[in-house]
């Protein structure tokens, strides 16, 4: 019988950039970013499913969610708990604001060192707000661990040997690695299971320290009698991070300029079926970054 694994899933709360409907459009045709829903990054859910599958298979396995973000990102941890995770940590501090992927990976790696060790660190391949696919490999490098990116399925685990199917551009590749290691999971992997009714009841009232500031007396009583309702928060001091490697200071890349893309034509246009007009349409779509 194999001994249970300790798994951490890195998850991010992201604006739902894939579902920019007409309702999230401003009059000038650009996106009102504040109007987008905050969701569990889709590929992080794929990663969570891989973790939960291992938990089903190997008794004694625990799944921890680690998310970095503002106070409201506690929602991501609750969502993970509803679906079957065992616990979660919210990594939150003003000092993290403005972090690029490198500074983010540094903070996450320090948090993992603090709450670990883990046999497996799972993450989504990339987050839909940035699409960079950098955090997984950078966390691996910071922790000096091997990595398997673009994973579609964990096929087998035996002792500390793990076999993973990867999704490449034109095919698939099966690789064998040794734990501990970092795996990033791609969107073509199995979808995450839905919320579990019992878990949802159990963790509905789970809150972070920041969130209980506004709680009632009754709630505090409940909270204090049920330790599992406490979602621990970690700040810069807790993870003993070097502040010069965090936030804007710790980010080698800077945003010089942002241009809003105009996604919507002002009115319906009739295009004649001739080469010139069709070319003009394609040029317009290329120019406004709809295609190309």
């Amino acid at each position: 019988m194999m001994k249970g694994l300790k798994i951490v899933v890195l998850a991010k709360q992201v604006p739902d950039t894939r579902n920019v409907g007409k309702d999230a459009m401003k009059a000038d045709g650009t996106v009102n970013r504040a109007a987008l829903d905050a969701i569990f990054n889709p590929e992080d859910l794929n990663a969570l499913e891989q973790a939960l599958t291992l938990k089903d298979k190997i008794p004694g396995t625990t799944v921890t969610i680690l998310t970095m973000g503002p106070a409201r990102a506690a929602e991501i941890i609750r969502e993970g708990l509803y679906r079957g995770a065992d616990n979660g940590y919210l990594l939150t501090d003003r000092a993290f604001a403005g972090s690029d992927t490198l500074a983010t990976s540094y903070a996450l790696s320090k948090a993992i060192e603090k709450i670990g060790p883990f046999d497996l660190i799972l993450a989504g391949r990339q987050a839909i707000d940035g699409d960079t696919a950098q955090v997984g490999p950078q966390v691996a490098e910071k922790l000096n661990l091997p990595q398997i990116t673009y994973a579609e399925e964990i096929l087998d685990i035996n002792g500390n040997t793990i076999i993973v199917k990867r999704r490449l551009e034109r095919g698939v590749e099966t690789v064998r690695g040794k734990m501990p290691l970092v795996i990033t999971v791609t969107g073509s992997a199995r979808e995450c299971r839905p919320r579990h009714a019992k878990q949802t009841m159990k963790y509905k009232h789970a809150k972070t320290v920041s969130e209980i500031q506004e709680a009632s007396e009754d709630y505090l009583q409940l909270y204090n009698s049920r330790p599992y309702l406490n979602i621990p928060e970690l700040n810069v001091n807790d993870i003993q991070a070097d502040v010069t490697q965090l936030g804007l200071n710790g980010s080698p890349t800077k945003v010089k300029n942002i241009e809003n893309v105009v996604l919507q034509a002002k009115e319906s246009k009739l295009i004649q079926n001739d080469e010139k007009e069709i070319e003009a349409l394609m040029i317009e779509l290329i120019k406004n970054h709809t295609i190309g």
Partner: protein, 339 residues
Amino acid sequence: MNNLFVFCEIEEGQVADVSLELLTKGRSLANQLGCKLEAVAIGYNLSEIGKQIFPYGVDTLHIVDDKRLEHYLTLPYSKILIELFKKEQPQIALLGATVIGRDLGPRVSSALKSGLTADCTSLEIGDHEDKKAGKVYKNLLYQIRPAFGGNIIATIINPDCRPQMATVREGVMKKEVFNPNHLGEVKTIDVSKLIDDNDFVVEIIERHIEKRKINLQAAPIIVAGGYGVGSKENFQWLYELAEVLGGEVGASRAAVDAGFAEHERQIGQTGTTVRPKLYIACGISGQIQHRAGMDQSSIIISINTDPKAPINSIADYTIIGSVTDIIPKMIKAYKKNTK
């Protein structure tokens, strides 16, 4: 020193197109900066590889030729690049935004604490003034990319750390031979002391070609066909348009029922609901059950022979005409105006 480096991906002895595109771009950026263009090739049996790389104007080609490095592996490849970059101090390093480049780039940039911008759609040289620090930076690499699901275009810079690293997808830059007879210097790197067994803890057991599942909801661009497309053969045009634009093919129920497309592609009330950035409805009348699954798309183009088709009333652009006549024109115009 402080040159521009391009990592060349090699698959079965062939340098990947994306790498040749980066060499083309790299050559022109290097000219602008007055520095040299250097390339890195890692793999096995590379004695002839220079023939493919030098015509793109490469001044120095670094070759690592080792049986164990025949296929890409994260740890040894990243170790080699990290060591090389520490020694050569490039000012810019470019990689393809491929599975390999997106596995390797972040690992290298993390070790060098250099920063990396993924999936750039344009690279330019420019200056930057940091008003707060009262500093002017000359000749930085502007790394221009869409972010936020393509809703914004950001220009990213990397003022202080080197190399300035960026990845670019295949097909974004143009590929152009600089001079077919150009020859540069070859430097072979001996890695026998650098890499050891620990770098091979992750090993490839097997590789094969396998088709991806259809994922309409993740597609930023959908080319959807209806009964008006006419046949399964005509649907090929939709696949071709989707391929060049980087999108997926969807279908109406009437098209699925007629056997023009698989059921997984159906969009609408009894199919998938999608909200892509661009929805191109080809020969779809736009009945309410279909619209329910796509009317929240950001931009809708309708191609239809009937000017009064209901779909046109929700379309941002309507092209009146036959699908098989219009799509080839779109493909041609797109190809002509990109790269």
